[in-house]
Symmetry: C2
Subunit: 641 residues, 2 copies
């Protein structure tokens, strides 16, 4: 198994371009906004109660716990994002605020290390009695991730110490030894968090605990079934189809199809890769890759969105990808980025990077408005506001982004991913440097003990030209691997201005092996035409339809540009399309011609052929929809052939 | 307002052809089967408890009421069907059984006339406290319809007397007078039943009570809101969108859009026509016609199915007609037949007859298997069994017909419609005879006091040739109006063998005015080619798709004939289609060629154009699907243009 190391967040600086701008919004808008939300200071938004819960748990407030049982995790994800943000952009005031929140966590932690405001306040004597539903281990996992990020970003150990004490307690409760619980989380998260903790602590206990949770999952007799029996509870509604909901229907190594709650699935499949690598367990990696194949070849939206139905926020069947009732939770696309990124570190294949960038630039970034003030939880591929208003089976879809959610998992999840996006760009292994993701940036990478500066100049993902310039104190023999995206049909590369005529390609990565000197440049040119993408004809929903894509960006049509009834538009093979910069959005749009079908009669059904009118259309990047006038939105257009 | 009279059920005899065969199945299979079901004698079927409930209410059994609050109505609909069946095909044994059931009803009726086994057993002191949900008036309505049918079919008054006593009680409870309840039924039905009762009793009280219920509906202060408050109840789930659920959101005359539960809507819109005619109330007719326009031009499936969503078993939005999640309850299509038939009697326009036969031959007949032993409640236009199994928002759809339902409204509703189908064929008015529906039959009609025999020889709806032969004792000056179906683009007519060159057409009816003599013949020839029907492009679901129709029959493709993945089939303009008789089904099928799209890659998304293969296809009448091997079914095919 290969062992690539992602670059540290603090070693990448993005100063312009899309990712930089999204990071700025996270820094300047989202992180401060979320802090106010956690403190119930956002007018007109449902109160979070997160900080108040912890104060009550610490004995510094009175009352009951409010919000979801996993409300603590919102603070955890915020602290994780703050950790990344402080790594790249120090801010003493924000750091002080975060330190105070961490100090509150220390006070809310019970004497034996237990930390969970819901149980501390509401059910102090019932810890670990409902692993299936109550998210104690899930919240622990997020605190662990926050602790690692905060430690890496600031060097401060306080939160790390808190979570290590908590993990000691968890380790004393769970395990195969007599008297311990053989349970595992209802919502996976702590598994990958523990492997991450292990990367900082090198404490084998942390790795073994992750392994225990993964291996125990789905074993018979079924832990959740026995646990529910003890509580005397019937299964909840979302358990209609049984243990598939949280991927505990089978031992994880026997699972071959992505089922159930898609975010849980992503976190679990990610943890399987982490653990396979950390514990050198090729069988576990194979299991994760089998699931990967199922997801990307049969169950993934073109935007990288996952989860075809609202029920269980989950997967449905192979090739079942409805556009309008899609669930496609922002967190699931984020989880797909996590998973793809982990796979890249054990097997640097372009395919993983392709999916990573598709999910990031489409299904993840669609979750946040351009101004960073509104969020989508559900990211459909077709929206007709009046249908949403009148169809109960569309009621999970919102026609516009919302300012906050009662279940506010997505906004802080976007924040922590985008704030750490630098680490998704590069990996190193021995004398090799892998470039997975392009974006205007400066990075410092350590290759074979030598620091190298890498400047990327590019407008990616809006243009395909990327110029790398090397800063080095001395000549370094190294191999640069540049990912050639799967969408790219034509490309060229120049080193120090000289065109390479037959450069080597390995698993989707261009291989440049040479001694690198200060000032060396690599110019990668990726052709980025407008493409018409079709789904496999087995996808019922999009049969005979076409989506527009340019580079990694999927495009969509909005009513504000194209009028209502977008579904009456058809694209013919002869209809010309071109790129045109949209001044309002500050983004490249696609303009051109299409056909609009209209009825010749007032009848609902007719044998008359429809009237076909040629009209101008305009498509914008999917992630940028709903930043102007509300209305219809459509990704998949009719196609005449 | 016109005043056409439908022919009596007993005056039409259907001896061969589709309708005759469906009547035979109702007679020989469904009515006996339902009697066993009502008596809990069907193995493996959910018990109905209907007869047992009535025995308990009559003091002849012990225990609680079981089944739905409206369980009595299953017996009522059965008795109604038996009434029609005895009118056309006397059967002393069946009549004895029905008489015994009626005698039980007499014993279950309380001393003051009240008749409802649920309240008599469970809540004797709470009558009329939950009109919104508890169906007392609905069940009363079905008993009234049964009483009229049974009286007309057998001449026996027992059930009529029972319901008249019950109506006397209802009339003493409901009304505008001080001390009376100003309520109305949560599920409409009694309104049209009372007008029907009036047609037999000529008792103005019956008409006025119907008028009261219709006029009171939706008035403020809202009766159901006040009633719920008195009970201290919150609104049920299906009341999420308020009083639209049962069309009490507005006074009925102010309603312009079909909303809420589609069966309730149909029964109410029908009652509005009945009442408009019986009470000479043109405003009420206008209101019903406005709703008609909304339904048939924006909210009706090509099969005559109604109800686009499972939520509330109801309507959604204009042009929102999803094929796979359609609700399209069999009872709603039946209700549409009722409504169209009533409109025909006040305004003989072909449009109403067109919708009547589309609903009858497609959305209604699809509700019952060819052998009469299995039933659909929901009649979708696209079925993929594996999607139904994995998508919760498809869970109301069954991939195959079921033997019975806990909520068994549809099978007995089909029985009563099909058993009375004769009366939908002809109407008379003065010296005019209207022929609305074609089918091989012998009828006796009374025109201006003279009896006329009408023999129809035809294979309709499978062929467009219809030959009428008149039997008359004397010459009769009369006008025959023959409906020229809206789907028919070319036709001719011969009278006594002589082609008419420019016959008059009025509102979709061919007008033949002349002295009619014994032996006169009319040969109507309706061209019946295979047609490609398209929906208005505003229907998102079927944009760029095409359905096959021949005559009034909509066709569909089944997996057993065409392989799986039916949605990958496309019909091109040049693809030839022809009629071919299917020996297995005993029905004319459509065979021909289409394109099947296949992927050139294993990728879920590709820029490659799909592979296009020409394949043979076979379509069968929609009503006949799911009578062979289970599998996929599809009405709307892709269309290349």
């Amino acid at each position: 198994m290969r062992d690539l190391k992602p670059i540290a967040v603090k070693n990448v600086s993005l100063e312009k371009g899309l990712l930089s701008e999204r990071m700025r919004v996270i820094r300047e808008e989202v992180i401060p906004y979320q802090w106010r939300a956690l403190n119930d200071e956002v007018p007109h938004a449902e109160p979070s109660h997160a900080m108040e819960n912890l104060r009550i748990a610490a004995g510094e407030g009175e009352g009951v716990h409010r919000g979801f049982v996993f409300q603590d995790s919102d603070l955890a994800k915020w602290l994780e994002a703050v950790g990344y943000r402080l790594a790249t952009h120090p801010d003493p005031e924000l750091e002080r605020t975060a330190d105070e929140a961490i100090a509150l966590l220390a006070r809310a932690q019970e004497a034996d290390g237990y930390l969970n405001s819901y149980y501390t306040i509401m059910k102090p004597d019932q810890r670990w009695t409902n692993l299936r539903d109550d998210h104690e281990l899930y919240c622990a996992g997020h605190f662990i991730e926050a602790a690692v990020a905060y430690y890496e970003g600031t060097g401060k150990r306080e939160l790390l110490d808190i979570v290590c004490r908590f993990v000691d307690l968890i380790d004393s409760v769970f395990g195969l030894e007599p008297g311990k619980l053989k349970g595992y989380p209802g919502h996976q998260e702590i598994e990958l968090a523990l492997v991450r903790l292990y990367s900082v602590t090198a404490d084998k206990k942390h790795l073994n605990l992750a392994k225990f949770f993964i291996d125990q999952r789905g074993q018979e007799p079924h832990y959740f079934a026995e646990e529910a029996q003890k509580r005397g509870q019937k299964s909840p509604y979302w358990y209609t189809w049984g243990h598939e909901y949280n991927q505990s229907h089978l031992p994880v190594r026997q699972q071959t199809t992505a089922v159930g709650h898609s975010v849980r699935a992503m976190y679990m499949y990610s943890a399987m890769v982490d653990l396979a690598k950390a514990a050198n367990d090729p069988g576990l990696l194979e299991a994760s890759k089998t699931l990967w194949q199922n997801v990307v070849s049969k169950r993934m939206y073109i935007t990288g969105g996952l989860g075809s139905q609202e029920f269980g926020e989950g997967f449905s069947a192979d090739y079942d990808l409805p556009s309008d009732t899609a669930y496609t939770e922002t967190c699931a696309a984020i989880g797909l980025v996590f998973w793809a990124h982990r796979l890249l570190q054990v097997e640097p294949r372009g395919e993983y990077g392709d999916v990573l960038e598709v999910a990031l630039f489409n299904g993840v970034l669609s979750g946040i408005s351009l101004d960073g003030q509104r969020f989508f939880y559900v990211n459909p591929l077709e929206v007709v506001p009046e249908i949403i208003a009148r169809r109960k089976d569309h009621s999970h879809v919102r026609p516009t982004r919302q300012s906050w959610f009662g279940c506010a998992c997505c906004p802080p999840n976007i924040a922590r991913l985008v704030a750490s996006i630098g680490r998704y760009m590069y990996s190193t292994e021995g004398d090799s440097l892998y470039v997975h993701l392009y974006g205007d940036s400066n990075a410092t990478v350590e290759i074979a003990g030598t620091n190298l500066g890498i400047r990327q100049e590019t407008e990616y993902p809006f243009a395909g030209q990327i110029k790398f310039t090397v800063t080095a104190e001395q000549t370094l023999d190294a191999t640069f691997y540049l990912r050639i995206p799967g969408w790219c049909q034509g490309w060229s590369v120049r080193v120090n201005g000289e065109l390479l005529t037959s450069p080597a390609i390995e698993d989707g990565y261009l291989e440049l092996s040479r001694p690198w000197n200060h000032g060396d440049s690599v110019e990668l040119s990726l052709e980025m035409p407008i493409e018409r993408v079709r789904s496999n004809p087995l996808v019922r929903e999009t049969m005979g339809k076409v989506a527009l894509r340019r580079g990694p960006l999927v495009y969509c049509l909005e009513e504000t540009d194209n009028g209502e009834n977008l579904s009456a538009l058809f694209l013919g093979g002869e209809d010309e399309l071109m790129v045109d910069f949209d001044q309002d959005l500050g983004l490249p749009a696609i303009i051109g011609y299409a056909k609009r079908l209209a009825s010749r009669t007032q009848d609902l059904y007719t044998t008359e052929e429809p009237e076909i009118e040629t009209v101008q259309i305009k498509a914008i990047p999917y992630f940028a929809w709903d930043n102007r006038k509300p209305g219809e939105m459509l990704v998949w257009l009719g196609e005449s052939f």
